[in-house]
Amino acid sequence: MSFYEDPSFFILLAAAIVPAAVLGCTGRRIKPWGLVVSVLFLVGLFMGSWEGLLLVACYVPLTFLVSRLVLARVRSGRPLTAATRLVSLACVIGPLVIYKVSTAAGSGILGFVGISYITFKTTQVLLEIEDGLIESLSFIDYLYFLVFFPVFTSGPIDRSRRFMADANRTLDRPHYLDLLGRGIVFLLIGAASQIVIATIFKQWYKPVAFDMTQDVWSQLVSFVQVSYAYGLYLYFDFAGYSLMAQGASMCLGIETPANFRLPFLSHSLEEFWDRWHITLSHWLRDYVFMRMERSLTRHRIPKKRDARAAVGLVADMCLMGAWHGLTPQYLLYGLYHGVLLAIEQIMTHRWRFFRAHRNDVGMKVVMWFITLNLVMFGFSIFSGQLFTFIGGIHG
């Protein structure tokens, strides 16, 4: 059973929401029911590929054990050694890395549906334990956070402290009814976005190879049109899915964060990553970029601030690309955005004229237009359209 695709999923989702609504409306905690249905949905998800379910069943207790051991060490007041940090991180991200590398090499091992998203969550918990931000961790809370079914396969990526506060609260009736109502609206809008609008744009996505014998200009125009069709398809598809995941979460009393905020209105690429796949880019910002930048800044490597920022941005975005898959199109997509962000960072920091006028209407329109087209060109890399197009030149 595929989540948010198969009709059976939607029927079971409706059935799962009814008891949740009864619990919510009578002022009871939804968590026990939420945990039970999450486990049942996972069984449905892995129906027929039981090794996936077995991997989840091993991964969750293993990472819990590692996290608890690190927590005990932190709480004892003894400093964490580099070896402890490294080994615990390897346990948490190891399966995902092995899966991605082995997939690139030909046949993926250790993979299961949702492995990426569960890894984001386990890593966040581990890093925040090391930082002393998480002071206690119960297995039930940890399990519920990881297997919460509305977001299991494709996010949005929630944060444990926020999730657990939601899961362990009891809402009064008006508050829950408000959440339930919004949740149902989100489910409906999300479904319309993904099933109707995204499908329309998808049929316009027809990448073609460049033809030396035809008019160059018209081929470039149609290249741009196809990249826009793909960008809009991807947006309505993923934003629609994310809205449904948010809606289903809300019905279970969890206010999963939003993943998209009108990304095509951005005036800069930095703003774009604040509006596009927000929970992924913010996760990378908080747990990769900022941590890496902190070490670089402490040691003043490289010496110049702009160079340090550039190194961090390129590394961050390359990791984002690699996470999508170790293929040329995704790696190039990451590099493309990393380099653009680095250039933009230097421009914002150094170019006085731009700093002084960036809030002027004219400048905003220009920046919006440039940003939108850079984003759409990025999608032509991401989708493989650019490679198909260039392939025609070589014949």
Binding site: E128, D131, E270, D286, M290, E293, R294, T297, R305, Q345
Partner: protein
């Protein structure tokens, strides 16, 4: 322990330096991220500067952005930890 006014004055110098704009000295309750004065890179520079000057270590996700986005809020977060 350094007194409050001294800590605030030193922090203000650091924030003005990182933001590259003296306007932060006047408008102490303006949202630095919204105004484009501070971004993730600036935030890290600030956290490291606070670490080096005051010996106060604040993890990147320790404080939600909306609790550390103005000069006054930054001062409060540092003073709380001294």
């Amino acid at each position: 322990m350094a007194d409050k006014a001294d800590v605030e004055a030193r922090l203000l110098d650091e924030i003005a330096d990182i933001c590259g704009d003296d306007i932060v000295r006047e408008k102490r309750d303006v949202d630095l991220f919204e105004e484009g004065l501070l971004d993730s890179m600036g935030a890290i520079e600030l956290l490291v500067a606070i670490e080096e000057d005051f010996g106060v270590s604040i993890a990147p996700t320790a404080v939600p952005r909306d609790e550390m986005n103005t000069v006054d809020k930054i001062c409060a977060q540092v003073l709380k930890r001294l």
